[in-house]
């Protein structure tokens, strides 16, 4: 494979890790060959080991280490106090913001920000929807998990045809899929605790709580108010299908293996060295199939061409 060209982006940590673990994780990231680091808590407003000023301070450290830094907002805003937090996020202009719900989009647009990132939960499935967010100031976007490679290609062709300007596409290449979001906390439910008195049990599950079917098949992961796929999404073994469609590739932090995955992606762009297939991962959505499906590179619909 020829060396590939892409920006490597590290997604926010989806799990609730203790402050010390977060800080030492990013100390290592500062030295790793990622270009952009997206910081912040996106899943649950009760998770506050780091507060906004802490994330901003961490962002400054990473920026000093040469990283581009983005601050991400919550995926679900339930109350006025959450909105206050979003307003503070939007008011800081040191870093670009990733919007993960439409109230955040409104505040960014109202502030005249033209540098924000439209997160995957904003449900952009067609070029006309993308044009609406572009007009509101988005300069980069992430497709929803269900969008297939073919649908993404059509969408991007359609967006170009609209002649509304340009927007960068960022695609996840590794990480558990964020399948659902609720106001209810499934981790608290597991411990028979109320959400407002959850004792921060997520802290004990650095990769979430695995959920299996009654016949023992790994199925999902409970991550507080979020449900993730048990199989991580991976396009690492078919990067040549991804790079024609996206300027930036995103990797989700995990308790294990993040630095190794970063190194593998970096080798792909520097030397054209292809990461090994991951049969325990999933890529069905990429081919318009059920999300849990894994297709080996040799059985990719594109492999024969």
């Amino acid at each position: 494979m020829n060396p590939l060209s892409f920006e490597l982006v590290l997604a926010p940590i989806p799990y609730f890790w203790p402050r010390g673990r977060v800080l030492s994780f990013y100390e290592a990231i500062a030295e790793a060959p990622v270009d952009t680091v997206v910081l912040g808590e996106t899943v649950c407003a009760r998770r506050a080991e780091l507060r906004l000023p802490d994330w901003i301070a961490l962002g400054r450290d990473l920026a000093a280490a040469g990283k581009r830094v983005v601050l991400a907002g919550y995926a679900l805003i339930e109350s006025e106090s959450h909105l206050k937090w979003v307003r503070r996020l939007v008011e800081q202009d040191e870093f670009a913001v990733e919007a993960n719900e439409m109230g955040t989009v409104r505040l960014l647009a109202a502030a005249g920000r033209r540098d924000w990132i439209a997160g995957a939960s904003l449900n952009v499935y067609n070029p006309h929807a993308l044009a609406q967010l572009h007009e509101a100031g988005a300069r980069r976007w992430l497709p929803p998990p269900e969008l297939s490679r073919a649908a993404l290609a059509h969408l991007l062709e359609g967006f170009t045809a609209l002649e509304q300007g340009t927007i960068e596409t960022e695609l996840p290449v590794w990480g558990p899929l964020a399948l659902a979001h609720s106001a209810r906390c499934f981790t608290a439910r597991h411990y028979r605790l109320q959400k407002d008195a959850c004792e921060f049990r997520c802290l004990a599950h650095p990769a979430g709580l695995p959920l299996a079917t009654r016949d023992g098949a790994d199925f999902l992961v409970l991550n507080g108010v979020q449900v993730l796929s048990a199989r991580p999404w991976s396009l690492m073994d078919r990067l040549e299908e991804v790079t024609p469609l996206a300027q930036a590739l995103r990797l989700v932090p995990a308790p294990e293996g993040t630095l190794e995955r970063i190194a593998a992606l970096d080798r792909a762009r520097r030397f054209g060295e292809m990461p090994a297939p991951e049969p325990e991962s999933c890529n069905g959505f990429w081919y318009g199939e059920s999300g849990f499906v894994y297709r080996a590179p040799s059985s990719s619909p594109l492999a024969a061409r």
Partner: protein, 340 residues
């Protein structure tokens, strides 16, 4: 909080999956019905359900003759290849004279606003808007006049949204209960490839398999074991999030029990906080369901408006609703948060 002269009479919005359901809703006192075309353009794309152009025209005529409004749900997210089909559906609905479109997709919202500036637009629950800033976004840009809130907010949070919202707010009052933020759930897509967002279906029946096994009756969704029932246990439809799963050595309803939503007892409070409309879920149910639920909710809303202080749900109302509800039990859902 709100004095009685300003009390807003909430509209009762009932499901019409077919002409018989529409007739039942209209005759039993619905202020409005919502329905969809027979295809993937709406979030209840089930076999044998929904309306074609001809039956929609008749539906509008019948509803309007009874002073009932007709809202058309076009609330799935079109992909690029399907774009022309979705915009054609918007244009067709406008030409037929529906009273409002229920939309979620930003592109379709822009299309409807531009091509049909006179047409009333409601934001679908699939739009996932949970705060007044989000509602302001849709109002300022697309002129939405009403939004349906996801079933994840508490009553106090709904009140907070209503107080600051630039548009009228519609909430779910009765029927099936999504525990996830609507428009944000790909669980069905992960297991079956079919989703509410793109196909208008969750845990579709064609992927369901029932097997009698030595361990009991098993319900599978595209191969995934959603639940297993002992001989006397009542078996429910295997909606993915309402199955029993194993977490940390325990097998239980790990995401949500198979209960349905009933907010009848909250009615005076919903009226007090100023919700503009109460929505009944269930376009995939029957005319008998619609008749029963519409009748009870009509009586209840009228009673709550006449004498809010004295309001309490009549036992016969609750019994009537119990007879038609899915699953054995009811919950107030997120409105009152026992889990909070």
């Amino acid at each position: 909080m709100m004095n009685s002269s300003r009390v807003r009479r909430p509209e009762l919005v009932c499901p019409a999956g077919n002409p018989a359901m529409l007739k039942a809703a209209v005759e039993h006192g619905a202020d409005a019905v919502y329905l969809g075309f027979k295809d993937a353009t709406n979030a209840r794309n089930f076999n044998g359900l929904n309306f074609d152009e001809r039956s929609l025209a008749q539906a509008i005529e019948l509803a309007h003759a009874h002073g009932c409004r007709v809202f058309l749900a076009l609330n799935t997210y079109p992909q690029t290849e399907g774009w022309a089909r979705w915009t054609a559906a918007v244009d067709r609905a406008a030409a037929l004279g529906v009273d409002a479109l229920i939309l979620a997709d930003l592109g379709l919202l822009a299309h409807a606003r531009e091509r049909h500036p006179e047409l009333r637009i409601h934001l679908s629950v699939q739009g996932s808007a949970t705060n007044h800033e989000a509602l302001a976004f849709y109002h300022e840009r697309y002129g939405i006049e009403r939004a349906v809130l996801p079933r994840v907010l508490s009553l106090e949070q709904v009140a907070q949204v209503v107080r600051q919202s630039p548009v009228a707010v519609e909430v779910f009052g009765f029927g099936g209960l999504c525990v996830m933020v609507e428009g944000r759930c790909a669980l069905s897509a992960y297991a079956t490839g079919q989703s509410p967002n793109c196909h208008g279906a969750c845990s579709p029946a064609k992927f369901v398999r029932w097997d009698e096994t030595p361990q009991g009756l098993e319900a599978r969704l595209n191969g995934f074991l959603i639940d297993r029932y002992a001989p006397e246990e009542p078996a429910g439809y295997p909606t993915l999030c309402k199955g029993r799963f194993a977490v940390g050595g325990h097998t239980y309803y790990a995401i949500e029990e198979p209960t349905s939503l009933n907010t009848l007892e909250l009615l005076p409070r919903l009226i007090e906080i100023g919700v503009a409309a109460i929505k009944i879920e269930g376009r995939q149910r029957s005319a008998a369901y619609v008749a029963q639920v519409t009748r009870v909710w009509r009586e209840a809303i009228d009673a709550a408006l006449a004498a809010p202080q004295d309001f309490s749900p009549h036992p016969q109302w609750l019994a009537a609703l119990d007879r038609v509800s899915e699953g054995a039990s009811h919950t107030l859902g997120a409105y009152s948060r026992p889990w909070k």
